[in-house]
């Protein structure tokens, strides 16, 4: 048991080679250290997806925290039919899309929020060096509609496989492909001035 846990705990955050089975078993048994390990392993990935989707660090942190609390509350119901990471991405995506659809948020978030997205670089020094292109890219991402944005964020920014995206968003694979292609083409169009 301790050995299993140790092997699960040994992975680095975001490591895709993570063998989730011992971690899931420990989580189901209510091991606090297992939950801690889950948070450590996925906090940056979950926060990053939320940030790229919402373009607001405060909101992204709220969503990321809610993701982990939901996992904590319902890990006993996790049937293991999908990967634990896919489940995490599904919750994150759903919470982000729900926020984007909120009418009150749509009024609140304006150009300022889109600008903050460009400022979301973790390193303040690097932020100053961020190119105009990078700022434009973040702005363009923020201008995509939510359904397209989540596909681009999961695939191109965070490198998920098509199948994993389809599972997380509960979409057919073909829909994921077409949505991703439309999003990329739209981004290309928005970045046209910077690409020529």
């Amino acid at each position: 048991m301790e050995r299993e846990l140790s092997s699960a705990l040994a992975v680095q955050p975001g490591d895709r080679r993570l063998d989730e089975r011992p971690l899931v078993e420990s989580l189901r048994r209510g091991k606090p250290e297992a939950f801690e390990r889950l948070v450590l392993a996925y906090q940056h990935r979950v926060f990053s997806i939320a940030l790229r989707m919402l373009a607001d660090r405060g909101e992204a942190e709220e969503v990321a925290q809610e993701v982990f609390l939901r996992v904590h509350r319902s890990i006993r119901d996790f049937r293991g039919e999908a990967k634990l990471s896919t489940w995490l991405y599904a919750i994150t995506s759903r919470l982000c899309l729900n926020r984007l659809k909120s009418p009150s948020r749509a009024r609140r978030v304006g150009e300022a929020a889109l600008m903050r997205m460009a400022d979301a670089h973790p390193n303040p020094g690097a932020r100053l060096e961020a190119s105009e292109m990078e700022a434009a890219l973040h702005r363009a991402i923020g201008e995509l509609d939510g359904e397209q944005r989540i596909v681009v964020v999961l695939r191109d920014v965070h490198g998920l496989a098509y199948e994993e995206i389809a599972a997380a968003l509960d979409l057919p694979l073909g829909t994921v492909r077409s949505r991703l292609h439309r999003a990329r083409m739209e981004l290309k169009a928005r970045l046209e001035p910077f690409l020529s």
Binding site: E36, S48, R52, A64, V157, R177
Partner: protein, 284 residues
């Protein structure tokens, strides 16, 4: 391949999903079409930029805050879950509760006679008096009144009440002796008294001849086709005799007892079953 068809394949080319035939067709088109070639360059650069976006890092202390929040919401949920949800807790609790309730029911049923009587079927005969109430005949299922239809013509004066100080009659002879020995209630005698079976009739026999009593009683019971159970080797004063006879033999037994001496019915059931159990106390 048209330009539109070519550009629709950009994502598949980017992700390496093209078949060899599609890839060669697209490459041929891109070599021949400057616009599509430029579009492809822009497309691939866009995707390259997206893929170069670094993964954002959660704010410092984020993990700690999540764990604290989980801990805060954990205890009431954990309490509820441990009481109601997990089988490894719920099943033993339910089993323990079932055992406790069953034990309680058994104890309640077995210990107080009132519960036994209330729970059990009506006893057709006379319940033998318990030792804790010496001198009193248990009234349940019996009537302390002159004999009824089966003994017509019996003088009412003979149906006198049993004196209060007289020892009670037990259904089992050894139990009855124990009961007589101790007027004070004892736990053992209580248990024994509860274990006694009911007599359908209890009477007092004052024999004319004590010397021939034993043989006379034995002969009489034999004649009526009954069974005699003595509490001693020989029936004598103070003895308790249990007689079991067929119901139809009761008049003949009664007539025979009155030839042996003075027999007084003390208690009797309203109706007799096929086999009637009679307790005969031999007077001193």
């Amino acid at each position: 391949m048209s330009c539109h068809e070519a550009r629709e394949l950009f994502s598949a080319k980017m992700d390496g999903f093209l078949t060899p035939a599609e890839r060669s067709a697209l490459d041929r088109h891109l070599q021949a079409c400057a616009d599509c070639s430029r579009e492809w360059q822009r497309f691939s650069r866009t995707v390259g930029l997206l893929r170069a976006v670094p993964e954002a890092r959660a704010p410092a202390g984020f993990g700690r805050r999540v764990l604290e929040a989980a801990t805060r919401e954990r205890w009431p949920r954990r309490l509820l879950r441990r009481v109601f949800v997990p089988l490894h807790v719920k099943l033993p609790l339910e089993a323990a509760a079932l055992i406790a309730v069953s034990t309680l029911v058994i104890l309640l049923y077995r210990q107080p006679p009132e519960f036994q009587r209330a729970a059990g079927p009506p006893v057709p005969g006379v319940t033998a008096p318990a030792a804790e109430s010496p001198g009193k005949v248990a009234p349940y299922g019996a009537r302390q009144e002159p004999e009824a239809a089966m003994e017509k013509g019996q003088p009412a004066g003979k149906e006198e009440a049993v004196p209060a100080e007289r020892p009670s009659v037990g259904g089992r002879t050894d139990v009855s002796r124990e009961a007589r020995k101790s007027a004070a209630p004892a736990p053992e005698s209580k248990v024994a008294a509860r274990a006694q079976g009911p007599f359908h009739l209890v009477g007092l026999l004052r024999a004319t001849s004590r010397e021939t009593l034993d043989s006379q009683l034995g002969d009489l019971v034999k004649q009526v086709g009954g069974i005699l159970v003595r509490d001693a080797d020989r029936v004598g004063p103070g003895s308790i005799v249990e007689v079991i006879i067929p119901r139809e033999a009761y008049p003949r037994l009664l007539a025979g007892l009155r030839q042996i001496g003075d027999f007084t019915v003390e208690t009797r059931a309203k109706a007799f079953p096929d086999q009637v159990r009679i307790g005969i106390r031999i007077a001193n």
